[in-house]
Symmetry: C2
Subunit: 193 residues, 2 copies
Amino acid sequence: MAATPDASEKDDEVDLPATAFAVLGLLTFGQDLSGYELRGWSKGSFRHFYWSPAQSQIYRELKRLEAASFAESHPVAQQDRPDKIAYRITPAGEQALARWVESQPVDRPVLKHHPAIRLFFGHMVDPAVLIDIVTEHREALVETLDDLEMQSVALTGEPTSGLSPLVFDWAAEIHRGDLRGTDLVLKRLAQLL
Amino acid sequence: MAATPDASEKDDEVDLPATAFAVLGLLTFGQDLSGYELRGWSKGSFRHFYWSPAQSQIYRELKRLEAASFAESHPVAQQDRPDKIAYRITPAGEQALARWVESQPVDRPVLKHHPAIRLFFGHMVDPAVLIDIVTEHREALVETLDDLEMQSVALTGEPTSGLSPLVFDWAAEIHRGDLRGTDLVLKRLAQLL
DNA sequence: CGTTGCATGTAAGGTGTTACATGATTAC
DNA sequence: GTAATCATGTAACACCTTACATGCAACG
């Protein structure tokens, strides 16, 4: 039953990268969005737990999604600003997205923690410099947490689902863990001075 | 004073990606390592807070590091197994690494949390499936934490510096935050059933 | 009238992965 | 002898980013 390599009749498995599905997913919240808007929503929504793709990347994924007929585009005239091209998810796209959510292997999160890797090689430099780096990281963390706490409470006008606050809270816990670790590091680095 | 484009005399700024410095950094722990070994150490040491590059990538970075004279290679004969090519950091490499650690802008960590982005679009699928996904993620998390706790205590024979345990503890805090978030998610998802 | 924000896109290149190829050595 | 581990490497490609180019609209 399962895909004999020869009988490639039903082998429709258009197999796109995660980024494509991330973009496609933003179209499931009930609004038609342009590439420009999607760029904004991706920053506003999943930046803190799933990085934000470059603008050019988003446009490229939209082309691919349309080619796979997972999304359709239509021009939208605007008086107060330049016209735009809005995208809408298709039923085929909804199905593909659902399959992607359901039946992917559960990959481990990938963390590229730049301040941590620098500290990992911190024996090469003056500890005072390390404290500066980690302190600056801490400030960014606090900003991130503010962001996430706001997003969890007020999703003003933004396209989301009922599960969004839950994910924001999840992400906040991760960053709070980072904050705890950061403070621990700061305390221990202070002892080295 | 700052680099006139013409007077390119002192413009030695060999400007390598973070991965190159991550590999180079592993050579500062006092052992000469081969590409094969570096692949192992990178998995063993910073996988949980800085992803592990592909094997072919490591070999490529080693070539580049040598070209920049940040590292030197020398063949090492082994009786019990195939000979290898071991790499050693050079004084120029040490200097470049120290500068990299000190004077980079403090980039935010990049998190690509696959389970979280899938939950973010979880309104497309049956909640029971989401619980399965998150539960599987939880199991991986526990493994990760075991890893990190062991690394923090016993660095058996592995090349590390005095700061390593600190970074492992930091990473552990981040993953413990993830664990907290995961349990929160699981609890709330159960209410949806 | 120049700057900023909206909006779309291309070009070029760097980063990183998978898959493959090779060969030695150890263990079953 | 054949599988697994050690060890190095290449080829092909996918992914992603930076930088640039274009044009409209609004604001001061």
